[in-house]
């Protein structure tokens, strides 16, 4: 049957276009990494991308979906890049492979593929790896070390156990450890005074990465690829709780500014919570989702055992999406006064 259905006109949009724009929005942050760490970040991205495409191709073949259409949609590459950027730079190559493969095979395709995954695949990969390989996932390099590209590669492929400068902690972690060791005697201000680690706002070098995510995110918002609800409410949740505690006891709690520009806050706000598939879809639901994710991320990173909490908070909220959506269905045209 000659089947055509209205509307005959469609906007020039596609899943592929959306995904490509997300990838483009990640470029500033990749640029900052490149500037601070050197080309090793590209190696990490390449490993992730290759693994994602291979895993995607195998899974598509298994479920007998058209390869050209789905491989080209770019969604696997977005997942790969997010994982590569969320993992510590210079993480062992196999850790990236395991993370990406798990994200694509289990978190995405076992749930039905594109559009069907209830959890954010990149965050599933992060959570699985940090639970399985906590030491490796906490081994973050400081961004002001000077080591050659060859050394970087050697670390990544297990030829060198570690570099001296890889003190094994993010600024967030350093702060948490210092506060714990100080047992209430050391103030946050004193700890953060070490600008070699903490930079001006959220960690030497890392604040630039965060700023780059912010820039990319704002561009996505301006292009209407993402809405304002999720990022703003996520940052709002983070600021609300960190701000309240900071005002209450500035000696023991870092300022909201520090939290905004450290760890995965910006990446989370603009690239993780905004994942439409696993997130809430109603305007009100998005605000709840983002705000709660921000709150929980803060709680985990400050009071929990992990260096950062974005992954777990987002996954927790992913679980609540059906409930949130059910109770936040907006009133329809003409029915606003009712019920």
């Amino acid at each position: 049957m000659n089947f055509t259905s209205p509307p005959y006109l469609t906007q020039n949009v596609s899943v592929r276009r959306i995904m490509l724009q997300v990838l483009a929005a990640l470029l500033p942050a990749i640029g900052v990494y490149l500037w601070l760490l050197g080309p090793i970040v590209l190696v990490q991205l390449a490993i992730a991308t290759a693994t994602a495409l291979a895993a995607e191709a195998v899974m598509l073949k298994l479920v007998d979906k058209p390869l050209g259409l789905f491989l080209g949609d770019g969604s696997a590459i977005v997942t790969a890049w997010l994982i590569a950027l969320a993992f510590p730079p210079m993480a062992p190559w196999w850790l990236i492979v395991v993370g990406v493969a798990f994200a694509i095979v289990v978190a995405k395709h076992l749930y039905g593929g594109l559009g069907q995954n209830p959890f954010n695949p990149a965050m599933i990969a992060f959570a699985v790896c940090i639970v399985s390989f906590p030491a490796l996932m906490s081994r973050w390099p400081s961004l002001n070390m000077d080591a050659s590209f060859a050394d970087h590669v050697a670390v990544m492929f297990g030829q060198l156990p570690r570099l001296d400068a890889m003190n094994g902690a993010t600024p967030l972690d350093t702060l948490k450890t210092a506060l714990k060791l100080g047992e209430g005697q050391v103030s946050v201000g004193a700890i953060l005074a070490d600008t070699r680690i903490f930079g001006r706002m959220g960690g030497h070098g890392w604040e630039w990465v965060a700023a780059a995510y912010l820039a990319g995110g704002l561009w996505l918002w301006q292009r209407k690829v993402i809405g304002w609800h999720l990022p703003l409410s996520f940052l709002g949740g983070m600021v609300a709780l960190s701000g309240a505690l900071w005002l209450w006891n500035p000696a023991q709690f870092a300022s909201p500014l520090f939290h905004l520009f450290s760890g995965g806050t910006m990446l989370g706000a603009f690239f993780i919570v905004t994942d439409p598939v696993s997130g809430s879809t109603t305007p009100k639901g998005k605000l709840i989702f983002g705000f709660a994710a921000g709150l929980i991320a803060y709680l985990i990173r400050v009071f929990g055992g992990y260096p950062d909490g974005v992954a777990f908070s987002v996954l927790l909220l992913n679980l609540c999406v059906p409930l949130i959506d059910l109770y936040t269905q907006p009133p329809i045209f003409g029915m606003k006064g009712e019920k």
Partner: protein, 180 residues
């Protein structure tokens, strides 16, 4: 020891009273399950299930005597709905699924014997003795019960064809594989 027994006894009394109250207050007249099953059955009253009508079949299903796959007019969809309602396994239909039909009397041949009138379970055939009979198409359930009794074989079944008012938009289907 005594207190424990007393508490348990008290609990039993309270729960018993609550149950007793509930059974009086929420007493259900008749068997609601039969009604629910009957609502799913297509009401053709054709007897193809082996029961004299949809309601008796519904009762038999509710009693657990009859299987859920014996209603050809209800089709597989009906079987699925019944399986859903009763929490039973979906089974393939016991007979062939037929498209919806309507009985047509050849008025040239009809001798006015009223046998079909009496056979029709839903009174959809009109006509008096020695007068020509006709089927009221909108009331006919397509049960075929009138076909056999006719001594002159003037009744046949016709498939109901879609017209512009009963036409349905189709489920969108795209050849997704073609592109690859």
């Amino acid at each position: 020891m005594i207190t424990a027994i007393l508490i348990m006894a008290l609990g039993a009394v309270i729960l018993g009273a609550a149950l007793g109250y509930a059974s009086v207050k929420f007493k259900v007249q008749g068997n609601p399950l039969v009604e629910k099953i009957d609502a799913i059955l297509p009401q053709t009253q054709c007897g193809q299930c082996g029961y004299p009508g949809c309601k008796p079949y519904a009762e038999a299903i509710a009693e657990g005597e009859a299987d859920i796959n014996r209603c050809p007019p209800g089709g597989m969809e009906g079987v699925r709905k019944l399986a859903d309602l009763l929490g039973r396994e979906v089974k393939p239909l016991d007979a062939e699924e037929k498209p919806k039909q309507v009985a047509i009397i050849d008025e040239q041949l009809c001798i006015g014997c009223t046998l079909c009138v009496q056979a029709c379970p839903v009174d959809a055939i009109v006509g008096a003795a020695k007068q020509m009979h006709t089927v009221v198409a909108s009331l006919c359930t397509g049960c075929e019960l009138c076909v056999k009794p006719c001594p002159v074989e003037c009744i046949h079944m016709e498939r109901i064809v879609e017209n512009i008012d009963t036409w349905k938009w189709k489920y969108p289907v795209f050849e997704i594989k073609r592109v690859a």
